[in-house]
């Protein structure tokens, strides 16, 4: 069994800070104290392991997994890409979970009151495990933008929420994927919470004509990176004495 080592320290310059007043909800939901930094122990470098048998056959097909009397309305797209670590190595068997609004920007959630209608044939969530190359793919309807109560005229760009569980609990990540060319990206307070423009660009999926299916679906490519493990360790500090 292979030894698993510490993770590289997280580069907080590329993540949004906790307090971003322009994103108003963060004002009361951000800690005032500094985080306390821990050197990794077994608690951080291990994490839950998931199996294919836990998922259903249509779990990565948002076009069909809630279709009741017909197909959902909207742009048929495939989203695909690779999940790697900071060393560029593929992350195998990572759990990727996604959720999104329908083509009109309406979420199937008891708390969403937006007047755009629910699509009776669209649920809006899916999940999958990456393969041995770290590859994942799912099929869906392109989500619409929607208004939200931040400032009264704030609109979210079209986006798909992503949750990733790699092989360590300290890699746990939730993020959002945006679509190439969307003019709402530039004015969104949630996007702008990330201060580094290069980091923002990594959240924008590119149109991938090569992977599109003729007369059927366009494709978008979205790669993700989770924290990487240190390769060298001269003393077995993580689980006791060498």
């Amino acid at each position: 069994m292979s030894q698993i080592n510490e993770l590289y320290h997280r580069n907080y310059d590329r993540h949004p800070p906790a307090l971003v007043p322009e994103y108003k909800t963060s004002v009361l939901r951000s800690p005032k104290n500094a985080l306390i930094s821990l050197q990794n122990s077994l608690s951080e470098i291990t994490g839950p392991v998931f199996g294919q048998h836990e998922l259903g056959a249509l779990d990565n097909d948002l076009i069909l997994n809630y279709a009741k009397q017909g197909l959902p309305i909207g742009e048929r797209i495939i989203v695909h890409g690779y999940v790697r670590d900071e060393n560029g190595l593929p992350l195998r068997n990572a759990l990727v979970e996604v959720w999104q609004a329908n083509a009109g920007g309406r979420y199937r959630h008891k708390k969403d009151q937006y007047l755009a209608p629910i699509d009776p044939n669209f649920g809006g969530c899916g999940r999958m495990l990456t393969d041995d190359n770290g590859y994942y793919f799912f099929r869906t309807i392109k989500p619409g933008p929607y208004p939200w109560r931040n400032r009264v005229n704030d609109w979210r760009p079209a986006h798909i929420h992503f949750s990733l569980s790699g092989d360590a609990f300290a890699q746990r990540l939730i993020t959002q994927m945006y679509f190439e060319g969307d003019p709402l990206i530039a004015s969104c307070p949630i996007v702008r919470a990330i201060k580094n423009d290069d980091a923002v660009r990594t959240l924008i999926a590119g149109l991938d004509k090569t992977a599109s299916i003729q007369l059927d679906s366009l494709a978008y490519r979205f790669d993700l990176v989770l924290r990487g493990h240190r390769a060298t360790l001269f003393e077995n500090r993580l689980q006791g004495k060498a």
């Binding site: 292979s2 698993i4 993770l7 907080y12 993540h15 949004p16 994103y23 909800t25 963060s26 009361l28 939901r29 951000s30 005032k32 104290n33 985080l35 930094s37 821990l38 050197q39 990794n40 122990s41 077994l42 608690s43 951080e44 470098i45 291990t46 994490g47 839950p48 392991v49 998922l55 259903g56 809630y66 959720w99 979420y107 959630h109 008891k110 708390k111 649920g123 809006g124 969530c125 999940r127 929420h161 949750s163 360590a168 609990f169 300290a170 746990r172 990540l173 939730i174 993020t175 959002q176 949630i190 980091a199 959240l203 989770l226 924290r227 990487g228 993580l238 689980q239 006791g240 004495k241």
Partner: protein
């Protein structure tokens, strides 16, 4: 050539509708055959059954009612169900993954996990860590998931020696990580309230 590293994908808030993806039953619809949930135990799981219960509060003292929490913990013997855990002296428990996910109630803000009390895990340099549960919290308004740990008030001797608790300089802040037991009929409940901001703010970690 210098080593080129890929930068980690930046985090974004989970938003108010996180339940759609991670707990669709809570969002109000049934789509997956198998749903991840807050019950970590099976009938064959070894160890003392416990319930972890609490609320998460914002800077005004109001419970956050759209929060999602995950826990990760060792089994009753103090071993994680993961190939990276090489503590060969401790048995694995095939009936315990050690991971669960819970949403707070939309009305009351209460969350709940049904699990077992974990054993002590070996820490760095051979120093034993006190029994603890790792928690991760996401919600609308939280830009990057918050990591914390829950320790047990009835493990005082072990807590005194714990290398992570001892990193926290202020005694008053250490206390924010200690859950207190209460008996409720047959149930042993550890109450663990989390304060995201303000007085008695919970300690959060940069792992």
């Amino acid at each position: 050539m210098p080593q080129q590293y890929l930068p980690e994908t930046p985090s974004q808030t989970a938003g108010p509708y996180v339940h759609i993806g991670l707990a669709p039953l809570a969002a109000g619809f049934d789509i997956f055959e198998n749903n991840f949930n807050q019950v970590l135990t099976q009938p064959e799981t070894q160890g003392e059954r416990i319930t972890i219960e609490g609320r998460v509060f914002d800077g005004s003292g109001t419970p956050i009612r759209d929060v999602l929490l995950e826990i990760w913990q060792a089994n009753a013997h103090g071993r994680y169900n993961h190939p990276g855990d090489q503590q060969q002296d401790k048995p694995l428990d095939g009936a315990f993954r050690g991971w669960g996910r819970s949403c707070s109630d939309f009305e009351t803000g209460h969350y709940r996990f049904e699990t077992i009390k974990p054993g002590a895990v070996c820490g760095r340099d051979g120093r034993l860590m006190a029994p603890h549960v790792n928690l991760w919290i996401v919600a609308r308004g939280i830009n990057l998931g918050l990591h914390t740990r829950m320790y047990f008030a009835d493990e005082d001797a072990a807590n005194q020696q714990d290398p992570v608790l001892n990193l926290i300089e202020l005694e008053v802040r250490r206390k924010t990580l200690i859950a207190h037991p209460e008996r409720r009929g047959d149930e042993l409940v550890y109450r663990f309230d989390i304060v995201v901001q303000g007085e008695r703010e919970t300690v959060f970690f940069d792992l």
